[in-house]
Symmetry: C2
Subunit: 245 residues, 2 copies
C-alpha cells in the first residue's frame, strides 16, 4: 500500500485551467506509481482537493496600483485556509499571475508548503541545460517579473515579447480561452510563439499563463517549437510532494 500526503489545488483562475490542472496532476500521480513499480489503481492516488473560487482578475489588480492589489489576495487566503484545514500538506496555485501574492499567502499559512510555479519551472529548465528562454504570459506576470526573477536565480536569461505581441497574448487569454473562443486563442498564441521563435531562434518558450496551453494544445502551426507548460511542471512537483518524494 502506498502512503501519501493530502494535497490541495487552488484554482478558479480560470476554472478551465483549474480543471485541466487536476487532469495533469492525476497523470503525474500515475507516473509516480509506474516509476515506483506500483500498479496504477484508484486507491493508490493521494487524497486531493480542488478549490475553484471566484478571484478578481489578477492582472487588473496589479495594474491598478496599491488599492487594487489586495483584492485577489482575500479570496485566495480564504480558499488556502480551507485547503489547509482539509489537511493539505502542499498546495499548488493553478494560475501564474496569482503567484504575485505567493509570499503573502505562504507567510499566512507556514504549515503548508505552497509550491511556486515559476521557480519549479526555472529549476527544471536549468537542470535540462537551458541557458535562455522566451516567455508568453499576462501583463501582470511581466509587471511583477515573476519568471524573470525565478529564471535569473537559476542562471537563465529571459526574452519577452514586444508590446503589440503582449496585447495579442492578452486577447487570446481573455477573448479566447476565458470567453470560450478557442480558435481565436489558437490564432493569437500561435502568432506570438512563431514571432518569438523567428526572433530568438530555437529557445524554449514558456507558456507562462495557464490559459495558453489550453489554446495551443494541438496547434499544428507551432508543432516544431519547443514549448514548456509550467502547469505540467507544477503538477509533477505536487505529485512528488503527495508521494513524499
Amino acid at each position: 500500500m502506498v502512503s501519501t500526503n493530502v494535497v490541495g489545488i487552488l484554482g478558479g483562475m480560470g476554472p478551465a485551467a483549474g480543471a485541466d490542472f487536476v487532469r495533469l496532476f492525476v497523470q503525474a500521480c500515475a507516473q509516480q506509481m509506474r516509476a515506483r513499480g506500483e500498479p496504477v489503481r484508484d486507491q493508490s492516488f493521494p487524497e486531493h482537493w480542488l478549490a475553484q473560487v471566484p478571484v478578481p482578475d489578477r492582472t487588473g489588480a496589479l495594474a491598478s496600483a496599491e488599492q487594487g492589489a489586495h483584492q485577489p489576495l482575500e479570496p485566495m487566503l480564504q480558499a488556502l485556509g480551507r485547503l489547509a484545514a482539509l489537511g493539505s500538506r502542499a498546495v499548488a496555485i493553478a494560475c501564474n499571475t496569482a503567484h504575485a501574492w505567493h509570499g503573502s499567502l505562504q507567510a499566512r499559512f507556514p504549515q503548508v508548503e505552497l509550491l511556486h510555479m515559476a521557480r519549479e519551472t526555472a529549476q527544471q529548465l536549468a537542470a535540462q541545460g537551458a541557458t535562455e528562454v522566451a516567455l508568453m504570459a499576462t501583463e501582470g506576470t511581466y509587471r511583477v517579473r515573476l519568471y524573470e526573477e525565478a529564471l535569473a536565480e537559476a542562471g537563465l536569461g529571459c526574452h519577452v515579447p514586444l508590446a503589440d505581441e503582449r496585447q495579442t497574448i492578452m486577447r487570446g487569454i481573455f477573448e479566447g480561452v476565458k470567453a470560450g473562443n478557442l480558435p481565436l486563442a489558437e490564432r493569437c498564441f500561435s502568432e506570438v510563439a512563431l514571432r518569438l521563435a523567428e526572433r530568438h531562434g530555437p529557445v524554449t518558450i514558456i507558456m507562462g499563463c495557464t490559459e495558453v496551453p489550453l489554446g495551443l494544445q494541438g496547434s499544428a502551426a507551432v508543432a516544431g517549437l519547443r514549448l514548456v507548460d509550467p502547469a505540467q511542471v507544477l503538477a509533477e512537483a505536487l505529485a512528488r510532494r503527495a508521494y513524499g518524494a
Copy 2:
C-alpha cells in the same frame, strides 16, 4: 453580477473521471452564462469544490455480500460531510456505481441536494422521447439495477449486455482506463457498443460508468452510434443548481 450557489463534486472513483467531470461542469457553467446572455468570465463561475478521496472499489464491495458493502460508504460520508461544511448546496458524485449508496449518503446530509446520475439521465432521455436504451456499466451497477430502476420510473426499457460482454467492459475499465491503457479500453468498449447496436438496432447507448467515455472519446469505430454520457448530463444538472435554475 450573477448570483450563484456553492456546489461540490465527490470524486476519486477514479481520479481521471473526477478531473474530467470538473471539465464537463466548467463547460456546462459557461453554457449557463451564454443561455442567460451573460459574458463568460472567471468571476461569474460558481464556487465549486472537488474532493478526490480514496474509496474501496465499489463493484468489489457490492459483490462481497453484507460485510463489504459498508466499506465505500465511510470515506464517501466523510468527504460529503466536508463538502457540506464548505457550503455546498448541491453535490454530484462522479461515479455511477457509487450511487448504490446514494440513499445512505443523502439521508445523512439532508441539507445538501445529492444529485442522482441515473435519474437525471433517465429523465433527460424520456424528455427526448426515447423508449428503450442499452446500458454499458460495471457489474456493480447492473447488480443494484441502478439504471434499470431509474429508467423504468421514467417509462424506458433497458437492454443489458451478455455475460461475456460485461466482462469485456470490466476489462476496459480496470485494465484499460484505470491502469492508464487507453487503447485497450477503446477496443473493449467499442466491441461491446457495436455488438449492442447490432443486436438492438439504433437505440441510445448509456455510457453508465464514468470510465467508459474516457476510453470511447474519439473512437472512430463507434462514430455512427448514439451514445449518451451520464457524467455530462449530471454536470449540466449541477450547473443548473449552481445558477439556481
